[in-house]
Subunit: 255 residues, 4 copies
Amino acid sequence: MVDTVKEGEWVLLYYNEKKSYVVRVERGRVFHTTHGSIDLAKLIGLPYGSFVETNVGEKLVVTRTRFVDRLEGLQRTTQVIYPKDLGYILLEAGVGPGSTVVEAGTGTGFLAATLAWYVRPSGRVYTYEVRRDFYEIALKNFESLGVLPYITPKNKDIQEGIEEDNVDAVILDLPTPWKVTEDAASKLVNGGVLVVFVPTTTQVERTLLSLKKTGLKMVEVTEIMARKYQPVPGEFRPHSIGVTHTGYVISARKL
Amino acid sequence: MVDTVKEGEWVLLYYNEKKSYVVRVERGRVFHTTHGSIDLAKLIGLPYGSFVETNVGEKLVVTRTRFVDRLEGLQRTTQVIYPKDLGYILLEAGVGPGSTVVEAGTGTGFLAATLAWYVRPSGRVYTYEVRRDFYEIALKNFESLGVLPYITPKNKDIQEGIEEDNVDAVILDLPTPWKVTEDAASKLVNGGVLVVFVPTTTQVERTLLSLKKTGLKMVEVTEIMARKYQPVPGEFRPHSIGVTHTGYVISARKL
Amino acid sequence: MVDTVKEGEWVLLYYNEKKSYVVRVERGRVFHTTHGSIDLAKLIGLPYGSFVETNVGEKLVVTRTRFVDRLEGLQRTTQVIYPKDLGYILLEAGVGPGSTVVEAGTGTGFLAATLAWYVRPSGRVYTYEVRRDFYEIALKNFESLGVLPYITPKNKDIQEGIEEDNVDAVILDLPTPWKVTEDAASKLVNGGVLVVFVPTTTQVERTLLSLKKTGLKMVEVTEIMARKYQPVPGEFRPHSIGVTHTGYVISARKL
Amino acid sequence: MVDTVKEGEWVLLYYNEKKSYVVRVERGRVFHTTHGSIDLAKLIGLPYGSFVETNVGEKLVVTRTRFVDRLEGLQRTTQVIYPKDLGYILLEAGVGPGSTVVEAGTGTGFLAATLAWYVRPSGRVYTYEVRRDFYEIALKNFESLGVLPYITPKNKDIQEGIEEDNVDAVILDLPTPWKVTEDAASKLVNGGVLVVFVPTTTQVERTLLSLKKTGLKMVEVTEIMARKYQPVPGEFRPHSIGVTHTGYVISARKL
């Protein structure tokens, strides 16, 4: 039984080891690559693994996507979180199928979408975004990823109060998380986890100070660094230039 | 409504920021800490968040566990994988609720158990372990974690052939993964991911060489480093001594 | 012409790849190793590269030392600076043969001694140490390393004023460097460098703030991380556990 | 007494925290910056610390240089070594005033020049470069840095034999150092150090294998990573993007 591309699915179009594209298959849309353009409707019904030809005759392999691939295809409004941090936050927050999670700010939606994908099918993610324009784009991103059924997006300022209670985790990716830590702590179940992600050590210090007032314990600060290597046997080595910092992950527990 | 400890649940017993314990609540078992011992049956029925007293009068807070906490309470037979690597592998392999995954070698079972916890409720993990003694301890670990319903543990050598087909991911944490990469590649669905985790660069090079024969593409090698910080406002800094290496994560895709 | 061991020289006594010792050759001293003891007088006149036998018949190779080896043989009073940081500070401070440098606090003397070794024969290092006991041990350390001719050790608090002027570099390894930065800046020649080494990000921030008042420019903060690898062909990999942090190097220039 | 700029000296021309230039003061040369051009003859006689104006009226501060600044002003032919590695190699090789060192390949000359600057005034650096064009540019670089009196540059292939003997250190920055390690080992004094700098783990492994034949001991492999931080109080953090790899430093000792 051959599996074929359906409308609304995400596909990865592979050209070579240096260049591939991720796009959602929609009728009536033409996708432009540096190797020519493709009418996306042409993909529908193609078996996965087959070639598609651009208008200039270049061939790309039509491939199934992983969840993280699809994130690459989204419209971005804010700095996004990288897989190295997403994976660590997921485990550190104890979030998995069935979890109830509060998250803010939504931003582009990478973090909320990833959480939603992992709390499926019985969990739920409540995500707060104060800016209307970000909220609307995130909504579209959640829809196109198919995770909207597991998310409650809110166009609200989380600093005005978390409306959920007894949540398994609160995850904050905000410029001023210390304004929310006390409220967040009060909304966690026993054993629940507050996770804060911030780029500067100054923010870490202010967050740590604020945690003292919350009664949360088992405070940890971790920095996840991912080093990419040149995957060439006989010339194996890290890349010369790369990402050297994203942020610090602070976690604390309700006892 | 107060939530209380039930038999078979895992609890975290918190003493202070330096010392806490993770244990599964079983009748007839006495748990020994450096602050005295606790008859675990005493915990049953206690509200989460309450104190329990040891036989020498020390108090510990009875707290709900995250999944990664429970891993800490397992009996170990082999070197285990750390959360920093588990989280990254999860996202890199594209594994989530509903995924079908093959994994080897089982070892202590950290990786298989984590994968199982994340493919719940509709996915499945097939894990291979050639050593009978490791297999049996892993089986007990899966049972005590409650993830056995999502795992098919096999006391078999994966080098003799992967028995599953059309799997979403194959994850290898073996000394000689290059003996399995070709078979693994043939059992992946389109877009499926092979992930290999090895500690030495020599193993990375041999694995990269073997990948050339598989036709897998989009090869990446990543090293995830987690740096722990001293969570003290006014004295914020990384710890002086810590883990400096676990392993390299190699991934490749079936097109 | 064979070179032989002379009294007062430092030697490295090599037992195997895991164990070697560094000691200064002094008459009347017996050196104790885990492989037996050696009357150091016995070493005098031995050709370098020959074996010496301990009182229990174990053999060690008598080897010439590098400067950094000798540091290992010193009596320590304080946390010392590692070669990875010493080397970077040396180049960053622009210190070499002929330089004039002010340093504080002396502590064990690793930094002052290294600077002295590198400003030879025509440069000079002025080092301040407020504690009498540290000062006295450092003095002995400088003597035994043979660098005292290039050092002016002072049992003074550098916070009460730097007595030198027109110096090429001021290097501060102090808990509160921000109390000295303004004075330090005023004592530098044009193009001179202030280098501060501190372990916490909190100290970095206070130092950076203090630098604004000094008029120093080209401010940089760098962290030097050294990762040690297992030097085994066929099993090449970083060590699992190691040093994960020493300190941050801040530098600024007088224009 | 005011110190003034002399012909042949290197100066740093500071525009702001983002932009400065390093140039050697030569009559008859016009130096072009993005802020206008400067007739370098105009600098001669100016007091250090004063302003110079470009032809479009922009002002730059005329500042004394550190040794590492001058390296930035050289003509480059090959990948160069960074200060983080230079400083570590210097200490690890035990090189300082008075040392005798053999180095190859010369390349642009950063390493040889730095070694030369540090062995002054009584030491010597012998540097081998097989390519005539590189050799000639390196020669000019050594002259302009003023270190030529301490260097013997050779337009020879070091693989054909090291012509010096009883040297304190041999430092190899070559694609195939394993072809030279045996010869290098035979030319070291007792306690002398062989240092090899290579970018790939494959080269590290081949070098480690070759060291077994040399009888050298105390083998170490170290990677020096420098992380640059944004020097802003209130927003202290590492830069997002930066250098993630240069090379591995292998060292071994003659006993």
